[in-house]
Chain length 283, copies 2
DNA sequence: AGTCTTAGTTCCGCAGAGTGAAACCATGTT
DNA sequence: AACATGGTTTCACTCTGCGGAACTAAGACT
């Protein structure tokens, strides 16, 4: 049940727990404001991931825990609207351009991107590393903007791609900057997913919380990808409560010594973020 | 009414004509498979464009022709699900990361991109121009992939951005390759929008239809953007009926003489597309 | 202060949209 | 021919989603 749709943090109403019309819901008071079929339709779209790009109704039904018949109607509707494409004569759908278009509109309207980009590029060049900006969506991070340094075309992550929260510098920065209750809630989720790796992951996060207060940035030293090191710094937009962002600056281990990362790049990233914050509030 | 949601070509069921529960629908037979509230929710998301990125419920209601109360519930739901963000203390929403994420998944799964990219890059380099790949969504084109030639960082269009169909080389290529009935239908739409500019636009399209059969490519010489010339070539994926793509290759006028465009670049683009087609069918 | 305006939210009774189990179809497969 | 497999359609029921209208909140103007 909860495998399907991670609910949306504290403030969230977890759609699938909440209703699933069929499941005679004892206790839960229905939220009259929440439009169930919209949520379901979107959940269908979400079932398509970058690797799982071609799904039949059956597979969708499995992934979303929705009854066959319902999925059939939803895919039909989504196809009409141009969000899905019928592919390969029969059966199997695929995300279609309309979905892409939404993403583009989303990107285009994130003011922070335009403002941050020049700062990011500058640091990327200076450190010959990659600087990226991301934000949270459910249980992972999404890249919103990124700049590569001159000599570092190493790791290629496109805008919109997802990375985990628990083990990356960017993710830890975000976690470390959260209100405690929220962080605890996130961590319980992560714990469930990590299983036995959890103690190590937890230690990493706790160190990050500590690092953030003492040094202003957090680290990930090969904990996400072997051979990749990075620093991360959070940014909270004050006016706009819900939106929290984080930057990272990373490179392959051999290119960026730990010493330089901690004593040069880290502080510079902190400084960069202060500048971005100023620019954001400025105009 | 029809201003809101362009219906989706011939096969389409035009959602808003079809029902709008309140509007006691005489004639129209309801499509029991179509999930109205999903369509409405998505229409709300669509109301956000790259330029119109910050909308209040009221504005959304106006753009979608949905009643206030309904919009209120839909935005509430979309916010819960992470597709919209509440911004600036109260009122006004904005597309949120979840929307972006869909777009990324969509992109990631278009096989044609990976296959076409090397060919595109090669031509882009050769011609010192920009080569792009796009597909249709409703009444416009969407960029799916693009490569810039070495010395041509001129026009910067990101993936997912929209360009018009009627005046661009890419759009005309698509139009020219359509079945007549479909093209006629599209053209009637375009006509409505163009108003008095229509005769010229129409002539352009008709020339394109002609060019396509005689030469294999179509042209747009400054008809979309002053100072930009381009050739376009369509590609139809046979197995996958609905999906039709088109390529363009363009540059600022001063960089690419008309002669070279027509006698060198055009034929090469045609050739490139043949190669891509072969590659697509190959594996 | 008061009054208007503008925008968003909530109520509430109603009707029909959306549902899902089960029957039905259409394609392979053994 | 029987059997999977996966998608679609039917059908009767019910609860969801609807939307007009009432309500609330926050400026803006006198």
């Amino acid at each position: 049940m909860s495998k399907v749709a991670g609910s949306n943090l504290a403030r969230a109403h977890d759609p699938w727990r909440a209703s699933a019309r069929g499941a005679r819901d004892r206790e839960h008071v229905r939220d009259r404001k929440f439009v169930e079929s919209l949520a379901r339709g979107l959940e269908v779209l979400r079932a398509f991931t970058p690797n799982e790009g071609l799904l039949g109704n059956q597979e969708i039904a499995a992934r979303t825990n929705l009854p066959k018949a319902t999925v059939s109607r939803l895919t039909y509707t989504l196809t009409q609207l141009g969000y899905l494409n019928h592919v390969g004569r029969l059966s199997k759908y695929q995300l279609a351009p309309a979905a892409l278009s939404l993403g583009y509109s989303a990107l285009a309207n994130m003011r922070i991107r335009q403002i941050a980009r020049p700062y990011m590029q500058e640091l990327a060049n200076y450190a010959s590393a990659t600087v990226a900006l991301g934000t949270r969506d459910r249980q992972s991070l999404i890249y919103i903007e990124h700049c590569r340094g001159k000599a570092a075309p190493m790791l290629r992550l496109d805008l919109g791609s997802r990375i985990p929260i628990a083990t990356t510098a960017m993710g830890r920065a975000l976690l470390a900057a959260m209100p405690v209750t929220e962080r605890e809630w996130m961590m319980s989720h992560i714990q469930r997913r990590e299983g036995e790796g959890w103690p190590k992951v937890r230690a990493g996060i706790e160190r990050a919380v500590n690092d953030l207060v003492t040094r202003g940035f957090v680290l990930s030293l090969g904990e996400w990808q072997q051979d990749i090191v990075a620093v991360g710094v959070p940014l909270t937009v004050p006016s706009d409560g819900s939106a929290a962002f984080a930057f990272n600056c990373g490179a392959p281990t051999f290119r960026l010594s730990r010493d330089r990362l901690e004593n040069d790049v880290g502080p510079r990233l902190v400084n960069m973020v202060r500048n971005v914050e100023a620019a954001l509030n400025g105009q």
